[in-house]
Amino acid sequence: MRPFLSPTPSRREWLSWSRRGLGATAACMLLARDDATRILASDPKSSDNSGQRIPKAKRAIQICLIGGLSHLDSFDYKPGLVDLHGTPLQTEEQPDIFFGQMGLLRKSDWEFRQRGESGLWVSELFPHIAQHADALTVVRSMVTDSANHTPAMFFENSGFEFNGFPSVGSWLSYGLGSITDELPAYVVLPDGRGGPMGGASNWTNGFLPSQHQGVVFHPGPHPVRDLTPARAIANEEESATREMIALLNRNHLQQHGHDDLLTTRMQSYELAARMQISVPQVNQIDQENQTTRDLYGVDDPATADMGRRCLLGRRLLEQGVRFVQLYSGGPIAGAPRSSWDAHENVVENHTAEALRVDRPVAGLLADLKARGMLEDTLVLFTTEFGRTPFTQSDANTVGAGRDHNRYAFSIWMAGAGLQPGIAYGETDTIGWKVRENAVTWHDLHATILHLFGLDHKQLVYYHNGIDRRLTNVHGEVVQALIT
């Protein structure tokens, strides 16, 4: 039984965690005074005790495809669907899809080819990414609980279908802290066409302290809110103001006596000043040479939005950001759609969406590799669910669009500690349901934390009655994905 005293850690405890390698390196950012933190000590009885505790990943970048990428048209090659094209799905069950209309089965509209030495099947939807097939770890057997966008995206981000649970990036920030003091630990780069549905709930810190929330970098000269004064202030006035504040704080500290709250607040102004220099610096992608810009497609209008963000993502990672999240797709509905939600026409929709991201993401992979960063950077290319092998149309027709498929979809990862050039798991002949080695988001989250040297069962935070985890009460590390 726990003694009655609070689980609140003192600053000293925080530092001792750092020494054990679990705590934040930027302890001064973490003045969590009312902070029910409990990263438990290593438990020898834990099931995840493979001995692999040396982290392979130091940082991650996630490309989050909103709306549901069709696995059948990208990473899950289904020749069986060619044979059955134009026939009805043989099933007794009422499938759990979004609109409920079940047309006939439809083969992929893209040619699939085996790529590289690994022979991984990738379709022509992603010709540039396909060139990196040997670096990809594809999971073809993803399953999720909801065929509804927002709950499914919350699930992808936080392991829960509800608003208000901390996202993966927040958990990593909480578990590992920042690498640098001068930039936020978790940065979000939304699609230029608009933020995702659910907005900030997708990168929320939930019940974790607020420094773990995703910080949105906006395009343009003012990437971070309140980074610079709301009005023009001469440099001299700005530095005199800082000195004035410092003088007031020093006097007050002397008069009151030492307190962590007071000194940490003083330090936070020094860090803020450094952030004011680092953020614009990291944001200056114009400094990159033309070869790099071309690699990401920064100057081509078709790829500029994603290209700039992928390039900025790499720069952020380079400067010590722990987790960068990029969205491909804005709000979900509307016509034409501004996401991967191809209910009406997969060919039109996916062609347009893929064009925006294929070259930039391939460029990111190439660039990370060239800089030796792929060794300890995890790249994630995910979507909230897949699409149905039958079309969303009248029962006797082969329509052009596909509905949501929660029973099977594909994602890929690359980099730090992963087995490259493999496709894990298998769906049935037509890609409707997973046949073998189903992987849930909890499993994937557990695997991600594992790559960072964190045990998903140990990374906990007390909230309203329970030691909360990213993986709820589920999740198994998928060992087959790991070197």
Partner: protein
């Protein structure tokens, strides 16, 4: 010997009725079974088909046949799986536990006829019916410490005795300036004016202090401050969340009702009842507003076409409602029992679904107000905005919510036993039966629920709320997990004090202001916050309260304090909130884009902010104002560079700096002398004169950069932002 044992065993197997005494003395076995076996081998979801909770279950055996051997206990399956350590599958038995079970099996494995309620036992891994927070109040009269240097109020005697045991001495009293700021911020969320401080410094007597406390408790601003705390707990948000995230422009009457209820010092049990069933108790705008508590949480309006998604969305929302209700009023995390009996607290899955059944007849929606004048019970609520709303976002009540079934493992397609609307069994079996059947209306159910919550366990109801008061006055509760008085929650640091305050509340008609008056006028509340090396060495985290715990002002208080100091605070109370965001509907999602500049019409107290979900507001967000997606019984206090950046650079801070500068320079009576201006500005912001080493740098700064720049620096100082 062996023979006689066999006779006993076979006699038992033959189900010869045993009298009660034959398994007397087996209560330790029951406890052991409850702890190690019954989680899987009792109730609705039997593992291997074996029920070990009662005699017949054991006799019936498991899917693989009988588990007891008629002749030889050693060959019984039951003993075999224990001996070979196949059971329990997780967490092994100690040698002595194994021995007890062996002896028990050897004796004939007697079990009672009625199932053992495994949740009743407190053990090293879970709370039972005898859990501390569920017990009657344990009233220990305050003991006066003769050596006390304090004017010991009853509260202080409990605190001081604990300090004494730790060899700690309390800090001396705080200086009047600290104390006055403290009591102003705590009670009304605004700083005192320099004139108010002058008066108190001239007469810091006990009588003067008590008069100030009474005046603040009677101030309308008190409700604005304490309603904000309550809104955290009830996760009050003004949009749906999820995909569409539609705004709820008519949700504000609930907020106004909460403000009025605190100001009126409404008896707490009435406050609770009205939030559960206000629309039924008093179908006026007042009651309809109060009952909106039930629907202040998120609501998904896009649930898809499949039956499964619809059911899951419904169950997810019910879980959220049951969880918020039980945590808010009873400190019970009942939502953990949706998929299985609570792993740590005595809440069975059946209990969870009984409570869920009481709430399944409510829906989110608008109710029109036919005749705004008719209500007879209007209190200061109607006066808050000076008008009543035309419609109110509140609970819709279904006449026929229908039957309820327990969902096995929470699976929406796995319906188990039917359950009726009711309460949590462990809080009292009789009371948990509402006497309602499956045809009862939502109105009947919620009326019964309101009665149950407020009467089933009055000590618990009182403990939870007095602990919240303590939490907001001292930054940490006597129980440091205000929503969770269960096994995973904290234990009270001062259990006798907690029970004393709860008893006081129950004894005074459940008026919260009187408890707060006791807290605020105690000596422990009035100690200084200065560090003391000796005390820090013993109790660095100050859990024993040898000093007043210094902390940063809440985000709303920072904003309100700047507004008031700058002379810009608008006084109008109530009504629709001010909007610091622009609504934009785009492709099926509502966006709430923060406005760059706030117009003066927005310069109201922050409690009146229109509070949408899925978008955070720059300044308040970095100052730890919580995401209204889930109940927030306490806030983190973080210090980050982004916070410093917002306080330095946000347009609101510039606007307030300008306003303060204008206030001090346009006053026709003001002395235009810069030295005097610096002095006045220090007085306004920090409530003191500049020290000798601040004065000349500040005057030089002001001469070079102007009064607004100095105001901005002062607003960023620790001294302004911290409550000490």
């Amino acid at each position: 010997m062996l023979r006689s044992l066999c006779i006993v065993a076979s006699a038992w197997i033959a189900s010869i009725p045993l009298d009660a005494s034959s398994h007397a003395g087996e209560s330790s076995i029951e406890k052991l079974l409850a702890g190690k076996c019954l989680e899987c081998h009792s109730g609705n979801d039997l593992q291997g088909g074996l029920d070990l909770s009662h005699r017949n279950g054991l006799t019936r055996g498991s899917e693989s046949g009988p588990v007891l051997h008629p002749d030889n206990w050693q060959q019984s399956l039951l003993w075999e799986v224990i001996e070979t350590e196949r059971m329990p599958p997780k967490g092994s038995l100690t040698d002595s536990e194994k021995e007890s079970l062996r002896d028990w099996i050897q004796r004939g494995a007697a079990l009672p006829e009625t199932p053992i309620d495994r949740l009743q036992f407190t053990s090293s891994y879970r709370a039972g019916y005898d859990w501390w927070s569920l017990q009657p109040l344990h009233e220990v009269p305050p003991k006066l410490n003769v050596d006390s240097s304090w004017m010991a109020t009853p509260i202080d005697t409990y605190i001081e005795n604990a300090l004494y045991e730790q060899r700690l001495t309390p800090n001396p009293p705080a200086a009047p300036r600290s104390l006055l700021r403290r009591v102003y911020f705590d009670l009304i969320g605004l700083p005192p004016t320099p004139e108010q401080l002058d008066r108190f410094e001239q007469d810091p007597s006990e009588i003067a202090y008590q008069a100030i406390v009474d005046e603040l408790l009677a101030s309308p601003a008190y409700g604005e401050r304490w309603a904000r705390h309550w809104l955290d707990v009830v996760r009050f948000g003004e949009s749906d969340g999820f995909e569409r995230n539609y705004p709820r422009s008519d949700a504000w009457p609930y907020r106004d009702w909460v403000i009025a209820a605190w100001n009126d010092d409404m008896p707490y049990d009435q406050f609770v009842r009205m939030q559960i069933a206000g629309d039924l108790i008093d179908p006026s705008p007042t009651g309809l507003s109060a009952a909106a508590f039930m629907v202040t949480g998120v609501h998904n309006t896009v649930v898809g076409s499949s039956e499964r998604m619809k059911r899951i969305a419904k169950q997810d929302e019910l879980e959220e409602k049951v969880g918020t209700l039980c945590q808010t009023f009873l400190g019970l995390t009942a939502q953990c029992a949706r998929c299985h009996d609570h792993k740590f607290d005595p809440v069975s899955s059946e209990s969870y679904y009984q409570v869920a059944a009481t709430l399944q007849g409510i829906d989110h929606g608008l109710r029109p107000i036919a005749d705004p004048i008719e209500s007879s019970t209007e209190s200061s609520f109607a006066l808050l905005a000076g008008r009543t709303p035309k419609q109110i976002y509140t609970v819709l009540s279904n006449a026929n919510p229908g039957p309820t079934a327990l969902l096995v493992r929470g699976d929406v397609f796995n319906e188990g036993q039917p359950v009726l609307p009711g309460g949590i069994l462990s809080l009292g079996k009789e009371r948990s039966d509402f006497g309602l059947d499956a045809t009862s209306s939502d109105g009947q159910r919620r009326m019964a629920l309101a009665e149950w919550v407020t009467h089933v366990n009055r000590p618990l109801l009182a403990r939870v709320i007095v602990n919240r008061l303590w939490h907001y006055h001292f930054g940490t509760g006597l129980v440091d997990t205000p929503n969770d008085f269960g096994f995973n929650g904290g234990r009270p640091t001062h259990p006798e004090l907690l029970d004393y305050l709860a008893a006081e509340l129950l004894g005074n008609g459940m008026h919260l202001k009187s408890i707060q008056r006791q807290i605020i006028t105690s000596s422990v509340y009035r100690t200084s916050s200065t560090p003391n090396a000796g005390a820090l060495a013993i109790d660095a985290s100050n859990r024993f309260l040898w000093r007043y715990p210094m902390r940063r002002l809440d985000g709303e208080v920072v904003r309100d304090a700047m507004l008031q100091t700058a002379g810009a605070l608008r006084s109008e109370m109530g009504g629709p909130g001010y909007e610091d965001v622009r609504f934009r509907e785009f492709n099926g999602t509502t966006y709430y884009d923060p406005k760059e500049i706030e117009e003066p019409a927005n310069f109201r107290r922050t409690v009146y902010r229109f509070n949408p979900r899925c978008e955070r507001t720059p300044l308040l967000d970095v100052l730890d104002c919580p995401d209204p997606s889930a109940t927030a019984p306490r806030r983190a206090q973080t210090t980050t560079p982004l916070q410093a950046l917002s306080l330095l650079n946000n347009p609101f801070v510039f606007a307030m700096s300008d306003a303060l500068a204008a206030k001090l320079t346009t006053d026709p009576h003001a002395n235009r002398d810069n030295d005097m201006l610096v002095e006045r500005m220090f007085r306004e912001v920090l409530l003191r004169f500049p020290t000798s080493d601040e004065r000349s740098p500040a005057v030089a700064f002001l001469e070079r950069h102007g009064p607004s720049a100095l105001a901005r620096a002062l607003f960023n100082s620790n001294e302004f932002l911290v409550q000490d």
